[in-house]
Symmetry: C2
Subunit: 110 residues, 2 copies
């Protein structure tokens, strides 16, 4: 008990849930927002921007990276992070699918 039964769902459902989970924290939304603003930055910049300790930011970046929402490349002692448009596109396609398939335009459809 307490364990998500991933085997019961499709791989697409599991993947989308994983991407949503990566965005399911205001700090990680704030990181995405900041990356959108500055295009690319290093971990230290985010530590300066948000009110969280360096290990906490590092952990959040790891989670965003693990689902492919961001990517990082080594630049000297630092690591440069940016948003991965491919994963954003995947998410966008799903939300668009929901929006277009919605037959009920009423606020009270049932």
């Amino acid at each position: 008990m307490g364990v998500t039964k991933t085997i019961y769902y499709t791989s697409e459902q599991n993947e989308l849930a994983a991407i949503a989970k990566a965005l399911a924290h205001p700090a990680r939304i704030a990181i995405i927002d900041y990356l959108l603003k500055v295009n690319k930055c290093i971990c230290k910049d985010i530590v300066n921007e948000l009110s969280l300790a360096q290990p906490t930011i590092s952990q959040h970046l790891k989670e965003l990276k693990s689902v492919g929402l961001i990517q990082g490349s080594i630049e000297g002692t630092a690591i440069c992070y940016c948003i991965n448009h491919k994963t954003v596109g995947l998410l966008q396609a799903y939300i668009l699918k929901i929006a277009t398939q919605l037959k009920c335009e009423d606020t009270n459809c049932c």
Copy 2:
């Protein structure tokens, strides 16, 4: 420790994280997928569709409802659920904002 510091983020960031959190489970994605297919249904239908107990489905529906992704109305002894297009629109707008603001089209931007 262990508590999300919501005060440090904007209300928009907190709201988006809450909507993402509601989608951060394959069972809830599966519920949305099912609702998309059948347009509207009752809790019992989802219990028959997914491999989860009734209290578990009820809990998942509660979470989707709490962020406004779905809505329910009483129909006799049952409750009819459907997707709320307003909240979907809110999410769509955010993803679209990310997609359009993305300056880096390369797979390796940094």
